[in-house]
Symmetry: C2
Subunit: 465 residues, 2 copies
């Protein structure tokens, strides 16, 4: 328990500030641009929902939901993901037949935090979903294309693992798994990316699956290979061909394969029969995006994005069905990768530093010229220029130069120049190691100040490039 | 209580989507730009804090804090404002001696919602605070300058009402209010902007303040006038001049007045002795920004921004003192004003619509050319162009034209043209009511497609201007 004077953030949460926050915002902007190109419109929902909206949507994971205390009024809980609030919104908005929405927001899970791996109790998700009735697999293919574009933009090498719930469930049926055990078997199989088959097999036996059935399950889900070959091998297996669910999935995946080629992303997609996804609500295509370059993944973060088709979730609210397909980007994990890379490359701080530092100098009678510095500051602020000055009545010269460290341009005020209606503007030669001559600056009138400052800022930018 | 099938958001919360959300984001961007020009650096804190962090900071208002349920572990509550989390962060970060931070985030209050007036239980605040030891009133003046710049940017006419806690408390002392009743009297006086003096006087009597003392309080706090005249009148009053607190406040306000003139914002600032601010933690200058144009304020939203100096809050955490001054912008109220104006002016939707619609046409044997449409889409997406196509294998011509409503450029595919390696690009003359000739389009090669589409998009933008 926290003592009264404990100044930490709650377990599994953190503050974001400075370069970290600016990098995170850059990530959001990059993703937002791509999603907007794909017709995405933003949605923002409350951080808590009526408890009834969240209940019975998450299976075993529901124990991780944060509840608000009962202080009278409605029973509410913090959102666990962005999919269920989206489905709630869709269910209520019967006027919306087709929508591509995205949401970048924090979600809450009372999980064991693993900070080093970028797993917290409060973390950001970025979801993109396409809702509406369309010809099969066209929106699904576009979502995978979006995933490819996002990680191309971040220059992170990834593989998109895909599978199909109907193929998987059909396999389990053919293998002899009882219908009511299919989700339990599925969640055991989903661990195959972290655990060897022997362990998964053990879990199946513990769940009451007979030896022989478990072995047949293993035979199916451990197959891998190219998408086309895999699909052909299923179609040539008489037992699988006789299973309606398998063949529906095969038809979907055959369409998908051709669409992915047309969209130029087929080479980044791999058919992985062991991919099952934990959540109950998926009904068709499912996928996870994994990082392939181990340099980017020293802490072995799991999937960096994941999703699938969920055609029945909106209908669960009893108003109307609406098929959906979506993807959730684990943006905190993207942050972990890009931040590690930034630190390795020793990239400069992302902060928006001051562009101009306003100084004042004088002799014995020097009064600090504070009001004059304020007037100049307002003039520059009004022009949209990031200007600072010492918040001291009589600043020392050295203090002002120290504070101007890293600032490219100085505006220098002196009593004599002011009386002549002029100020000195000057490059501070920051980061310009080749400069052999020191800029002596130039005297300009107050009317020309903004124009001259802009010129110097431009030349400073050019030198940095 | 909500029924199981209730699809609403919790009381006092709402979804944000479409033009509303885009407008809200524009507001955030405008404010962020100004705060960044003033050296602001962003901070993001968790949505909930340890309960001990929030306790004893809000006086009577603490009853409005949302608590998380006890599910084991730490006792936590949703943040009530952004000031206390900032103070908690500052108290812990002893390496930070000076900082200008801003935070735009949702805060939570179990208040009676007044949706029409833009008052909700979940709402955004945007805070800008300057922490650190500086010469008196320089950061305070800059904060008021920031407030002026923000509302200038939104073209909302405002008045910034200012007062000083020390002057107010000194008045109360001189009037004969017992020390331990000063905060109670202060919170009654703060109601003078909504209630007549008689009602406030009644409240003072109920709070046990003698008649004569109440009348003297009324005599002080109902004075108004220009800043300089008011300050001179205090200084010429022997009883007030003898009160140390009043004179400290007068010295601060005299400095402030000269700084506001230098920054060119004095004409928007009014000295209002009845302004008291509810929260306990203010120690010096306090201010509220009110909308002056009634056309912008039909629902009589109260203050649209407010804040003050709070030099002791960081020290309350027992680590170190650090003086701070800050302002909180009620961005949901800004939204209410700008949205009403947008609807009155019937401004077009803010949505980022598609720039290009990809269509396919053909005769009897037409197969829909879906894969070709996908290839073209990927080419345009890769170039950062917002492109769409019908998610149908064989779309009808009319369907495609309907879907392209409002889209400025079309790329049209036909089997013959494709075989010749070409596609047709064409302006759709959207919104161009003066066009007398219909654009017949031009055939371009796939290599030139992006270049030609960009040209057409530019010409479309020029025509709209």
């Amino acid at each position: 328990m926290a003592t009264k004077n404990s100044l930490k953030t709650p377990k599994g949460t953190r503050d974001w500030v400075g370069g970290d926050l600016l990098l995170r915002n850059q990530i959001f902007e990059t993703i937002t641009t791509i999603l907007t190109n794909h017709g995405g419109t933003p949605l923002d929902t409350p951080v808590f929902e009526l408890r009834s909206i969240l209940s019975e949507k998450y299976g075993e994971e529901a124990r991780l939901i944060y509840h608000l205390a009962d202080q009278g009024g409605e029973a509410c809980s913090l959102r666990y993901d962005l999919t269920v609030p989206f489905a709630r919104w869709l269910a209520a908005r019967s006027d919306v037949q087709h929508v591509r929405r995205f949401q970048i927001a924090k979600v809450y899970r009372r999980d064991q935090p693993a900070v080093a791996r970028g797993r917290l109790r409060e973390f950001y998700q970025c979801d993109f979903d396409i809702a509406g009735v369309y010809d099969p697999m066209i929106p699904d293919a576009e979502i995978l294309c979006v995933a490819a574009e996002v990680f191309e933009a971040f220059e992170v090498d990834v593989v998109v693992k895909v599978n199909h719930r109907k193929i998987l469930d059909g396999f389990f049926e053919v293998a002899g798994v009882p219908r009511d055990r299919i989700r339990a078997v599925s969640s055991a199989v989903d661990k195959l990316d972290k655990a060897p088959w022997d362990e998964v097999r053990e879990e199946l036996l513990e769940k009451g699956i007979p030896d022989e059935v478990a072995d047949r399950v293993g035979g199916y889900v451990r197959r891998s290979g190219g998408m086309r070959e895999m699909l052909e091998s299923f179609a040539s297996d008489a037992e699988l061909r006789a299973n309606e669910r398998v063949m529906e999935g095969v038809a979907d995946m055959t369409l998908l394969a051709s669409y992915l080629v047309a969209m130029g992303v087929a080479d980044r997609v791999s058919f992985d029969l062991s991919l099952a996804r934990g959540l109950d609500y998926y009904t068709g295509l499912i996928y996870e995006v994994a990082v392939t370059d181990s340099a980017d993944n020293p802490t072995q973060v799991g999937s960096i994005a994941a999703g699938g088709r969920y055609d029945d979730l909106v209908g669960m609210y009893g108003r109307r069905p609406l098929p959906c397909v979506g993807i959730s980007f684990g943006v905190d994990r993207v942050f972990t990768i890009l931040n590690a890379r930034r630190q390795k490359e020793n990239k400069p701080d992302l902060g928006a530093h001051a562009q101009v530092y306003i100084m004042a100098f004088g002799g014995k009678e020097f009064d600090g010229l504070l009001l004059e510095r304020m007037r100049v500051a307002r003039q520059l602020w009004n022009a949209g220029i990031r200007a600072e000055f010492a918040a001291k009545v009589k600043p020392k010269s050295l203090q002002q130069f120290d504070a101007a460290e890293g600032v490219p341009v100085a505006v220098m005020l002196g009593q004599d120049e002011l009386e002549a209606g002029q100020v000195l503007v000057k490059r501070l030669h920051v980061g310009d190691k080749n400069a052999t001559t020191k800029d002596k600056g130039q005297l300009v009138s107050r009317e020309d100040l903004v124009k001259e400052v802009r010129k110097l800022l431009e030349s400073a930018t050019l030198e940095q490039e």
